[in-house]
Amino acid sequence: MRVNEELFAKITIAFSFVIMAVGGTFGLLQALNRVPFLSLPGALEVSDSTYYRILTCHGVCLAVAIPIYWITGLAAFISPRILKVELDKRLLALSLAMMLVGGVMATIVILAGKANVLYTFYAPMTAHPGFYWGAALLILGSWVFIAAFVKQYLQWRRLNPGVGTPIAIYGLLATFIVWIEATTPLVITVLKDFIPMSMFGKHVDVLETRTWFWFFGHALVYFWLLPVVAMWYYLIPKKLGVPLFSESMAKVAFILFILASTPVGLHHQFTDPGLAAEYKFMHTILTLIVATPSMLTGFNILATMERGGRARGGNGLLGWLAKQPWKDPVYLGLVTSMIIFGIGGITGIINASYQLNMVVHNTAWVPGHFHMTVGNMVVIGYTAITYALLADLFKRKLISKTAAYSHILLWSIGLFIFSLAYYYVGLHGAPRRTSNIEYGGLLPSTWILPMEISAIGAILMFSGGVAAVYAVLGSLLFGKTKGVAIEGMKIGNPHPETTEFNPLLENLKMWVIFAAVLIIVAYIFPFYEIFSRGISPVPPVETGLS
């Protein structure tokens, strides 16, 4: 079968919404079953072992599989249209095959109950080897896609010397650079530790494998959200018909993401004994630095929105806000995702604030935070961008604007309620990842009401999710063919203004080298501490449940 860019994008993007339907349903079941003392109808009630099984699936599908499929699909579709250079078809076919086989394999193993290890799969808990091989294949498949993407970019660069990289492509390049930074340590530890542990019973050092995992785990979140940021920069000015406020500021933000999104992993390990305070503090500072590009982005997009609103006749201090094209679901979704990201990002600063982390580490605060960011900003962003792709990519008309608005409103409000409730119980010490937090009736009474409220939020979210899946998959299956692109959202040429060539900002090779140096400096000390003290390997522990 010949895989061209469009077929690749159609399969990966449609598939990511199928997964979203499955993972989202599991999420609702978890939110309901966690409410203390709530008796559910039999069909909704899950046993503890099922809870951890679907929690693993929820995490792996929504946090790893969807972003990989959706982002590669977006890049495959958008980059040939902007750069006018084709992607390597053989690499595309290979990448698609590897990603689909890997993803399906890992999912089957999880649903069969042979990998109840959650998405962090901390050693020495061990899963069926199919889980690790599936995950490795999925990630290596995304590397093959990145090879095709980089090859295409370099070809464009040769054909267009002295032209500034279009901002959408710049953002996607940053996304993939961060993904390579993130997944390299993961692939190392999966091949070196987890597969031998699972297949041959190798004893592994748990502190070391945790450090490898979080070397990956935080950069992962920038992989999720950078394409959304790139599309804010690309689509919002396009829709408003004005140039981006500052393209160089946008590129500086992406460079900061490339530099600082990876050497921050120890902020997930503040409470790990065996890592020195100095190194944890170094990662704290780097984490604060990685907050700066988001603040630059917020400023840049808001300034663009102001400029667009004024050009459309908005006057006064805030009159430009009323003149935004709010009726366009794509635009509404993009701006909503940005506002939510602001809130989620600020709570992330609290997690990362070293001493404050002791109060919230591994409590419900953490899922509160990342549902606000990945669950809310990323899901709304991906879905809104998919609405923009319906006409160009799938040649379908959006089946229902009402469904699209309902999705954005129900999802963001529901998630807001859910996350605020989780922040609250988290501050009161309620754990995350626990199927039942009653503790034989000894739980603090402060946990009960917010957990009930969180379930209401989850139900609203789920209704929003149903609307999103209907809007996307419904349009694909039943939408009118020959769809018309939503005005101003046609994917194609870069904005006419985006041609300035700044040698410093275009020299991505140099920034990648700087990033590598920074990562080595940030990680050489903790690894030296672990290895110089002498590692302490422990035997694997099976968790396969019947």
Binding site: R210, T271, L442
Partner: protein, 193 residues
């Protein structure tokens, strides 16, 4: 670069952002260095195969108000699962796991430490003066299908009543939770569990 009218705002914003980040970093450094408020960082490797000989769970009083508490975690228990301390001023915890990763949390306090097999986590908690009554100890890291059943109880008794007691789960007064570089253990650990 932005249009000329915009450039100045761009630089102003960059200065504001840098100041926010520098301010946050400075305040965290102040608490870490000046007040010695750091997360638990000390660990001693231990061979999980020889835990029964080398690690005795239990509570030992080292001096007036000073306790050493050794806790062994496993699927799905804390040993000891009931700890009673009278007028504690300083509690030296040593915690390890016999199987997978667990998470030690005393609900309503700042005590929050990962328990990693192969390593003994060593840290000190100085409970606030008004800490009194029963505290719930839970496992906050997924450790298997019985994870939700893993709990224990810490009871702090006050013989010289300083303040009225707090019940389980209050966060009104945060305990000071500092790292101690060198822990020395004297004498034999007595198992009271």
């Amino acid at each position: 670069m932005a249009n000329d009218e915009g450039v100045i705002y761009e630089y102003v914003w960059i200065v504001i952002v840098s100041a926010i980040v520098a301010g946050m970093a400075a305040s965290l450094a102040y608490y870490g260095i000046a007040l010695d408020l750091n997360p638990a960082c000390n660990a001693t490797p231990i061979d999980v195969g020889t835990l029964t000989e080398n690690f005795q769970p239990g509570v030992k009083q080292l001096g007036p108000g000073i306790y050493q508490v050794n806790i062994l975690a496993g699927q799905f228990f804390w040993n000891p699962n009931k700890i009673v301390l009278e007028d504690p001023v300083r509690i030296e915890f040593r915690i390890t796991s016999k199987d997978v990763v667990h998470g030690f949390e005393i609900v309503g306090t700042n005590v929050n430490v990962m328990v990693i097999p192969g390593y003994v986590a060593e840290f000190v908690w100085e409970p606030p003066k008004n800490a009194e009554g029963k505290y719930l100890i839970i496992c906050h890291e997924y450790c298997g299908v019985g994870h939700q059943f893993m709990q224990a109880e810490l009871e702090i008794k006050r013989t010289n009543t300083l303040l009225s007691g707090d019940s389980i789960g209050t966060t009104d007064d945060l305990g000071k939770f500092s790292e101690v570089k060198y822990l020395e253990f004297k004498g034999v650990i007595v198992d009271e569990g």
